[in-house]
Every structure is written in structure tokens, then in C-alpha cells.
Symmetry: C2
Subunit: 335 residues, 2 copies
Amino acid sequence: MDDKNLTIGDIAQELGVSKTTVSRAISGKGRIGEQTRKKVLDYIEEHHYSPNVIAKGLAQNKTFNLGMVLPGDYNVVELPFFQKCMLGVSRTASAHGYDVLISMVTADNISQLERAVTNRKIDGAILTRTLADDAPMKYLIESDVPFVAMGSTDDDRVVQVDNDHRSACRELTDKLLAHGIRNIALIGSDETHIVTSNRLRGFEDAFMQRKEWDGSRQTFLNVSDGGRVDEIVERLLEKKTECIVCMDDFLCGCVLNTLQQKQIAVPAQIQIASFYDSTVLANRIPSITSIRFDVEELGTKACETLLRMLDGEEVERRTLLGYEVRMRKSTREIG
Amino acid sequence: MDDKNLTIGDIAQELGVSKTTVSRAISGKGRIGEQTRKKVLDYIEEHHYSPNVIAKGLAQNKTFNLGMVLPGDYNVVELPFFQKCMLGVSRTASAHGYDVLISMVTADNISQLERAVTNRKIDGAILTRTLADDAPMKYLIESDVPFVAMGSTDDDRVVQVDNDHRSACRELTDKLLAHGIRNIALIGSDETHIVTSNRLRGFEDAFMQRKEWDGSRQTFLNVSDGGRVDEIVERLLEKKTECIVCMDDFLCGCVLNTLQQKQIAVPAQIQIASFYDSTVLANRIPSITSIRFDVEELGTKACETLLRMLDGEEVERRTLLGYEVRMRKSTREIG
DNA sequence: CTGAAAGCGCTTACAG
DNA sequence: CTGAAAGCGCTTACAG
């Protein structure tokens, strides 16, 4: 069907022109007569020629591949977040003639990323999260690979695209305070994830703003397993906590399970709010108040930014994307 | 740090040998003196030379990339399954000097896959699921790209690696029957997924085997949303169904939510079993009886098989991997 | 055991 | 506007 192994040379010979001319007709670079261009393009169209991107890459010292760095930790690998943003990245890369190559890294092993880089298989990279002491990020910086990070970091050498987690958490907390809730607890996981500390700051911002910091708020970080959640929930119930804000949907699921087991009604006896409303929380009853981020768009923006960098354009150091606080049944409306 | 742009030519010149010799020392192909080989290898080691895989690829007509075809449908994109098997694929590819390039496809758009193929960016592909009328599969076949499918299909031109879903479902059902449960319902999603019909067959196998097919079993396929689940659960409760078997963890989550809302106790009033115990179900209370598949291993096997095909080896048409039925609190033990 | 040379399929100064 | 030629960094018959 396709004339698979058709080369630029074949076309040149067939049309009685030079390879240079064919190349120019295809790339659109360099002067070329309208006549000849059309002739070449028509031939190509008719014979389903498609250029060998590898050869093109060798000549131009490019790969037309973007590296996507994904966490390969066993816990994290299941979060829908990464696959969703992959969709955004993949689509925009594709639309610009690039492909996406994945590198799965763990805390103590970034060899896949190293291979992709030393083998010159990627033109740039996208980091899908930021950690406090980020090995892949360090590596990319010292290897001089253009990259953008999805997430935030203090290092202002790195181009960042992130949702505004701090404002998001502030706004959510503020709404809860506005509803008259005072005794709020925040539960989060890994503290070394920059996003965790950003949310924590937003939480505190809200209390500051309203001058209602009465010591009744509580925070628990580095909560990772169900057992720990049980214990914390127990403690919070004793302390008459009115609302628990969970930093991710997985944690929220744990909290809901614990409450269910203890026969504590939501929101009657305790209110619940969360981040991300992915399928993990979808269809929960009662519906969960949470913050929605457009993760696919995050991927899209990150990829667009990287592509602009590869084109030699100047890009903004930091792009902040929006969010949407969705109040639902797990928290009580007033009035 | 790394002497990035070191080429085979530089090394040859530096060492006073030919490029041919350097190439041979690296590849291990062709006769070469032990002395010279060591000399070259030492130099390479010391100067951190790493070959340009793109150039190598052009010369050998290879890319050292494997295409991984992932569903880009909005619903499916969140299932942890795909990311987990990506881990297995990615690791083994990496261990063999290959990288993984992703192509996200939907029912009506396989352009990313087409690009990867026509641009000659991949040496082979892995299909992460099989459908009844599978566009990506058809395309790969007619494009003559070596590939292996994770999942099953009737088409015996395709190399398949799959868990034994049929036996798994038979065994689970059989255990339930052995516990004296007779009135069992099966709920599944998309019927065009081959895996759905395989499980259905396993379900029926179990009834056949025990000659207890009394018409009390029921099956519901193509169930995809929470609303539909509500309705079905209602009907099943009326019919005194004793146990609901869910074909995936997402559906199971929906069923549990519905039951919770209706204040129906599990397993006291109705029993529940599911497939896959991913994080979606982890930490649920009560713990859910389910079938465990080693999804990462599935990825590993699929990738190994593909690599063997690329090496020109003969591979088995069909590899069936195991499963593990885990009886938990959501179904009652007898005795 | 080693090397000169052609080739993989493109791009791109340089001339005309 | 068009082309001959060199080059991207490797591999691989073919000779020696």
C-alpha cells in the first residue's frame, strides 16, 4: 500500500531534479520555483512518501522526541494524574511533529532518564512533578537538557508550569471558614513534594487573612498508609474537628473508609473536602467537595512551553494555571 | 563532565586506529585483537563516550524504540492498569537498550500510532488491550509492524500475552458456588473488550461444571456509569441476589457506594467480589474479595516477547499468565 | 586481525 | 531558482 522505502533520492531521480530540490520542496526552506515545488509535492502525495525522521534527525542533530519523566514508585504509579497529563503532552507533541518517550524514575534510580539523555534520544524533557531535592531535575540541569517542570520549585533556572495550589487551598479553606467552620484539619502526604508545602501555605494563608488563627487548626503531613489515617481520624474525632481537608483523593478515600467503618456520618458529624476529583472519588456518596485542576491542560501547557523553548523562543519562567473549588455535599452550605 | 560530542572518528584518530576497529570493539562483532579491543574500551570508559544511537539506527535501519499503544479515551485513561504495565514494559525495554515511545489512540483516531509507524520511529509495538474490532491492531497488521498484544484475540496472526481471565473468573465463581452461594450476578463494562467476554465465559464455565445452572445467575454488560449501577443494584436486591461479581474495580467502587447509600451491609446482606485489587479498592472496608493479576509482569512478558521477535526468534503465539483469587471479608467463608 | 570506502536518508552551505 | 558535494555518526561488505 504505502511505498514504504521511497527516499528523497528516488523522487529526485524520478522527477529529474536534485535531492536538494526535493528536500527544499518538502521543508519549505530555501528558494524554489512554484512549478517545481508543486511537481514534487504532487508526486509525494500520490506515492505516499513520508520522510525518514531518523535520517532527518541525524542531519539536523534532532530526534523529534520529548522525554516525559514519570515516577516509577510503586505507590505513585497508580495515580490517575500522570496518565491524564500524558494525554495533554502526547496530543500537543504529536500536533507539532514530536513523539513522547517515557522515562520512569525512582528516588534512587534515574538510569532510564540518563540513558535517554546520553543516547541523545530526546530533544527536551518534561518533569511531571517536583520534589524538594530532585535528582532528575538536577541531572537535567547539569546535562544542559532543555526541560520544563510540571510543578513548582525555588530554583529559578527551571521553567515551571503549575496549578496555583496555594491559592486553591487558600480559597477552599477560606470558604470553609466563611461557613463558620473553625476547627479544620489538613492531612497530606509526602512533605518532600513541593506541592504539599504549597498547599499547606495556602491553608495557613486563609487563617492569617481572617485573623482567626486560634490554634484550632491542625496539620498532619507524611501520611501515607491507611493505618496512619485511622489513628489520625480517631484523634480528630476526639478533638471535635469539624472538617478534614485531604490533600489528595487517595488519602480522602482512606479517610472516608475509616469514617464509614466507625459509622460517622458525612457531613452530619464531620465534613470532608479534598483535592482532585478523579475517578477515585467520583461517584462517592455523599459527593465530595474538592478542588478541580485541569490536568490535561497542565500537560498541554507544559508541552507547548517546551516546544517554544526548543524553537529558541523566550518563555516565561513560571506559568500558573487555574483551579476550581467545587463545593458539594460533603461540606454543609450555610443558608 | 561528559565529553558529549565525542564520536567514533575522534576516538579512532586519537588512538591511531580506524573507525571500523572502534566500531567493532564497541559492538563486539567481527574479529578484533584483544589488545586493540581493550585499548579502545579503556579509552571509551575514561572519556565517557556514548554512541549516537540515532546514527547507529540510521546505519542499521533501527530506532531502538518500542511503541506502546495506550487508550486515550477519557474514561479509560485513569485506570491504574495501564501505568502499572508501563512500568514492566519500560523496565525491560530499558534493560535491553530500548526506549518506550507512547501513542495514545481513541476509537476514532489512531493518528499518533500512524505517525510513529510512517515516520519509522519504532521497531515494534505493544498493544495494551484488545477490542473486538481493533483499529490499531488492524493497522499494525497491515503495516507489517511486529507487535504483541496484551490481551486476547481470535486472530491467530497476533502474538498475545494475557492473564487467564477465563479460568480466573471460573475459579472465583466456583469458590462462591462451593460456599453455597447460588444467586450470583455478574456486572461488567464494555462488551467489545475481549477481556469482558472471556470473564463472562469463565463465569458460565463454573456454573456448567457444577451443573447448578438453575437460571438464577444473571449478567449485566456494558455498564459504565454510576446511574446504571444504581438501577441494577436495586433490581438485584429485589431478586434476593446473594453475591455481585464486578468485572473491574471501578465498577465495584460504584456498587459499594450504592450499597452504602442504601445502608445495605456487606457481606451480611449482600456479598461482593471484584477483579483487580488496585488502590481504587485498597483500604476499602470490608476488604474486597478479588482476583489479583500481576500487571507489571504482564508488561514485562509482553515486552520480552516483542524483543525476542525483533531478534528474529520464534515466539509462542499465546502466553497465559496466572492470577490469584483472594477471598476476603466481602464474601463469607463457610466454617 | 585491520582498514578504506561506500552507504543509511536526510540537510545545507556554497556556487552558479 | 537549482544542483553537486560534503556532512551528520554510525555499520558493514570487501580486501588485504
